[in-house]
């Protein structure tokens, strides 16, 4: 989801840890090393990587500025190839018929059918371009906060894994418990109380 859209969804994170070395240079290196790779002519079904906010289809962190005000602004791109099952069925059926005609047999074994399905799927993966999904990120380094513009579980999990790999920092997703734990001004005693509280019954 793009941050300039008229309607957005935001998942909030606390960033744990500090960048070792010069900040901007280190962040840029992390983005470059883990930037998205094109898989259109590859046998891969899915890939995820960083891309530039202003040029997500041709990422270039050298010329593209990722720093806006006090924030790093960049995007996570997840490319996925999805082949409709009806297309697989079509080519599978054609291949099975061809094999039966060549061998003169009436049936194929389970393994032969499995091999044909795999072969057909792999051949189609090479021919089908991946669908890109772009999710923007705003990282306020000074405040150790990060906004991810999606609430989708799978996209959030990709972000958490890639962020940790790229910058050696961990992301703490903010939800009721973590927000309470990290709330400003909470004492150790209150934190202990928090771990023991149970559900309130608003009606008897």
């Amino acid at each position: 989801m793009r941050l300039l859209s008229s309607s957005v969804s935001i998942t909030r994170y606390k960033v744990k840890g500090e960048i070792q070395g010069p900040l901007i240079k280190t962040v840029m290196e992390g983005l470059n090393k883990n930037s998205i790779i094109e898989i259109d002519n590859e046998s891969m079904e899915k890939t995820a990587g960083w891309t530039s906010f202003d040029n997500p289809y041709l990422p270039d962190f050298e010329t593209s500025s990722c720093v806006i005000g006090a924030h790093f602004v960049f995007s996570l791109r997840i490319d996925k190839k999805s082949i409709p099952s009806k297309i697989i069925k079509k080519y599978y059926t054609i291949e099975v018929a061809k094999k039966l005609a060549e061998s003169g047999r009436e049936h194929l074994s389970r393994n032969e059918k499995k091999d044909i399905r795999e072969h057909v799927t792999n051949a189609l993966i090479l021919r089908i371009p991946a669908t890109p999904n772009i999710y923007d990120i705003i990282w306020n380094y000074e405040e150790s906060s990060l906004w991810f513009f999606s609430n989708q579980k799978a996209a959030n999990e990709e972000l958490e894994t890639l962020f940790s790999k790229s910058f050696r920092l961990s992301l703490i997703r903010l939800f009721p418990y973590t927000m309470a734990e990290l709330a400003a001004g909470i004492t150790d005693r209150e934190r202990d109380l928090l771990s023991t509280i149970s559900r309130t019954k608003f009606m008897d």
């Binding site: 941050l3 300039l4 969804s9 703490i172 309470a180 709330a183 928090l194 559900r199 608003f202 009606m203």
Partner: protein, 174 residues
Amino acid sequence: MLDVSVAYNRYKFLGHEFLTWLWFIMDVDQSSILKTQSDMLSLEMDNRIVLENSLDNRVENITIKGDDAGLEEAKLSLQKGGVVTELNFSLKTGDHEWKFNIKGESLNVSSLRPPETGKIEKKEDVEGAVLEKIYLYEKVVSLVENLYTQFIQIRISNKWNSETVPLIKKWIKS
């Protein structure tokens, strides 16, 4: 700190209680909410509320939506022991309005519509547009964080059981 997925599931009731408390506060004590942000004119429930009621090991979800929807059904669900799991808000400051949705279990902000901003005509406009959007989103994010902090401070104090819960019970019955 607890394992993330354990903490998420074990304490999601806190998010549901937060939204239930927030509806109560918006209904009976707008002034305490207005103190949270100096330029805020109002924070009101907008056009959608989702409630969850666990009865005899089965979960009942009730969604009420529509601009003129009555809230009697929602109150009835609370009377049966339900809690608010999702709430749609309208926040107003000056001539501006933000609409957004909060899901209790995650406290994620979704369907956030800030006031309209100018169109981007040149590439040079992008930086300014991003900063403007960040400023507008920050209004909602900091409001939710401040209100939740306010809630948590009450929730872990003795005041919760001795004062707040009896008042909420009275409000639910009203």
